[in-house]
Amino acid sequence: MANKNRRKQIQGYAVPVPVVSVLVVAMLLLLAYVWLDVRGKALGARIKSLEQQQAELQKKYDLELLKWERIKAPQNIEKMLAQNNCAMIWPEEGNIVRLNESVDVASRMTDDKSQLAQLSILTKPLVHD
């Protein structure tokens, strides 16, 4: 009968490794759950605040759009012109120059004055009087 090696014997109660492992995993899962929960709540709060922000911005945008449309309405422009003693008139027929053909101006813009003179002939302004 072999003698017991007393020095190798573990002192006190040893928790089995699987139990410890399970506890550790459970602990980690709990921590992960808590972390996710906190994170989820934080994200939720952020989404809510962004939603409110978006709604507020949309309200402001619509109000500004309404004001802008009122400002640029022809009746308002005429009213403002009258208030400032300004008047807009249509140009006289003789003051209107019409180009009856499109001209590639860039390709013709050279330093050669004769060519510029030629350009003015090509554009041939139409006078309708």
Binding site: L66, E69, K72, A73, Q75, W90, E93, R98, L126, H128
Partner: protein, 594 residues
């Protein structure tokens, strides 16, 4: 001994702590699983914490053809109150005084609304009556107990009265139904769908995002883009207002249409109303007269008869008719001309607007053919424009025509049209005989940009041949020359064609001697028609109130501005120089006549 004593103490402390913990656990379980006190308590808790809210959604916007916003939804505040809280705080007097001053209503009325201790909610400003931003801010600063504000969507029309008859308005009810104009006809696209949020609240009445049970996102309505141009509309509205003022007319209306496509660029009626305050407008003001008023067109209708006769080759433009020096007895009933004429060519019948000449042409054409052509031009049925409330005019079925009808219809009596129908006849002539369907809506687009509906020019008929249309254009151009009834419609640099009309108004038992409808319908320029315009004045009261005197200047004023705004090239052809069709002017070959 001592150790034992301490052991007992320790035991008791542990026991007490454990007992307390058990109590807490029991309470938690009780609260969590909602045991005890029956179902009512649980329901009450659930209801207290429950949040169920409609998510506001905007209707689609309405734009003009240049992208200007004509109608949009904005969020405003409406004032609400909890009478129970206000009365328990004995501050009803203060609330009534402040709200009364702010909303400019009697405090007694507010007090009356607040004096309902059993109620927890009342509107103080009235249902659907929002307050302005500044008023809302002032109210918030007052911090009155039991007073709170709720968001509400309000339809806003930045241009006020402008285009009111086309745009329509939206009702105050919860569904916010479009009740007139584009708002009504295109409601199914414009209407957004409200969202729904079901969630839970915390102790401070804030939503718990992680307890959100249901969320249906709101669906914004689609945007509608019209063919109207805000500036063209403005020009027309200004001209109509001026014309009504100067001629003391009871009303006036006008339409501008693109000849080749049928797009309506302006449709205005005066007097008008503000759709932002539609509840203060009378039904008469809300009527879109351009499509909702049938009237006897008078002489403008002659072009329909002459076009039909020319198309059937029953007459030629140079054919001479005896206009009987102003009075013609037909079937024992007299027919008069405004000015007496002797011999007139068909071209001059149009130019001088002779009733007798037009009636004789119609007799030659025959009532069967005349009726067929009128139907082909779309008289007697709605044009199908995308607006509600369009009248179809009035054209009696042929069996109901009397022996006189053919001569009366020829001069625009015994028949009724809307301004749009009359304009369609002219557009057909200007468009080489092709009748286009008039339309107002260019496209409908979802908020994500997806096109839900798009409208393109559509030909719906060809009542007359191209050659006839060309001939008619030349004849109608003479109306605006010197000596023609429509010379006041002339626009410098441009050739104009058209026809004047003055019709006595039908009253019970006959026609009024004093009340009439004056109109002018024309297109510009003649050589390449771009725009057709009709102007109608109801009951002008000047010394002379014919279409040529009161409606033509309005046409000229509108057309001269629009052609420049739209950059329509000026007329360069012989028509503009007054060298019109020598064949017509010469009247060299008299043909058969009555």
């Amino acid at each position: 001994m001592t150790e034992h004593k301490y052991q007992y103490r320790l035991f008791f402390v542990v026991l007490i702590v454990l007992g307390a913990l058990n109590g807490l656990i029991a309470r938690l379980v009780y609260l969590h699983f909602r045991f005890g006190e029956g179902v009512d308590r649980n329901v009450r808790i659930i209801e207290t914490r429950r949040l169920e809210r409609d998510l506001l959604v905007a209707r689609g916007k309405i734009f003009d053809c240049r992208g200007n916003t004509l109608a949009l939804d904005i969020v405003k505040k409406e004032i609400c109150a909890d009478p129970a809280v206000i009365l328990s705080n004995t501050c009803a007097e203060a609330v009534a005084a402040n709200i009364g001053r702010l909303l400019n209503v009697s405090p007694a009325r507010i007090r009356e609304r607040l004096n309902q201790p059993g109620r927890r909610f009342v509107y103080l400003g009235g249902y659907g009556r929002p307050v302005e931003e500044e008023q809302a801010a002032e109210l918030e600063n007052m911090k009155l107990p039991g007073l709170f504000m709720r968001d509400m969507m309000v339809r806003s029309y930045p241009r006020g009265n402008s285009m009111c008859h086309v745009l329509g308005y939206v009702n105050f009810d919860s569904e916010r139904v479009g009740s007139a104009g584009i708002e009504q006809k295109w409601h199914k696209y414009l209407y957004g769908v409200h969202g729904l949020l079901i969630s839970e609240l915390d102790g401070r009445r804030h939503e718990l995002y992680d307890r959100r049970l249901f969320e249906l996102k709101p669906r914004t309505g689609a945007d509608v883009t019209l063919t109207l141009d805000h500036y063209v509309q403005y020009v027309v509205e200004q001209a109509l207002e001026k014309a009504v003022r100067e001629n003391q007319a009871s009303a006036a209306w006008a339409i501008v249409e693109r000849v080749k496509t049928g797009e309506i660029m302006a449709m205005a009626s005066y007097p008008s109303y503000d759709p932002n305050n539609f509840q203060n407008a009378s039904p008469e003001l809300m009527r879109n007269r351009c499509i909702g008023v049938n009237y006897e067109p008078g002489s403008t209708f002659k072009m329909t008869v002459i076009a039909a006769a020319l198309n059937e080759k029953v007459v030629t433009s140079s054919q001479i008719f005896d206009c009987e020096n102003g009075t013609w007895i037909y079937n024992r009933r007299p027919l008069h001309d405004f000015h007496p004429y002797g011999m007139l060519s068909v071209a001059d019948i149009i130019k001088k607007s002779s009733n007798i000449g037009a009636a004789k042409v119609a007799v030659l054409l025959g009532q069967d053919k005349l009726y067929q052509y009128l139907r082909a031009f779309g008289i007697g049925r709605p044009t199908g424009i995308d607006l509600p409330g369009e009248e179809g005019g009035m054209l009696h079925p042929l069996p109901e025509w009397t022996s006189l009808s053919v001569t009366r219809v020829a001069i625009g009596h015994e028949v009724a049209v809307t301004a749009l129908q009359m304009l369609q006849v002219l557009c057909t002539i200007a468009n080489d005989g092709v009748l286009m369907r008039p339309y107002l809506v260019q496209q409908v687009a979802a908020p994500d940009g997806q096109i839900l509906f798009e409208q393109h020019p559509k030909a719906v008929g060809r009542p007359i041949q191209t050659e006839t249309a060309h001939e008619m254009k030349r004849l109608l151009a003479r109306v605006t020359e010197e000596g023609g009834t429509g010379h006041r419609a002339a626009v410098e640099g441009y050739s104009v064609a058209g026809k004047t009309g003055t019709a006595q108004k039908a009253i019970p038992g006959g026609y009024s001697d004093t009340l009439n409808m004056a109109s002018f319908t024309g297109f510009i320029p003649v050589d390449d028609p771009q725009l057709a315009i009709i102007v109608v004045l109801d009951e002008p009261k000047g010394a002379v109130h014919t279409g040529g005197v009161v409606a033509c200047p309005v046409f000229g004023e509108i057309a001269s501005q629009i052609v420049r705004y739209l950059d329509v090239p000026p007329s360069t052809t012989a028509v503009a120089e007054g060298k019109i069709n020598d064949k017509i002017a010469g009247l060299s070959s008299p043909g058969k006549g009555l």
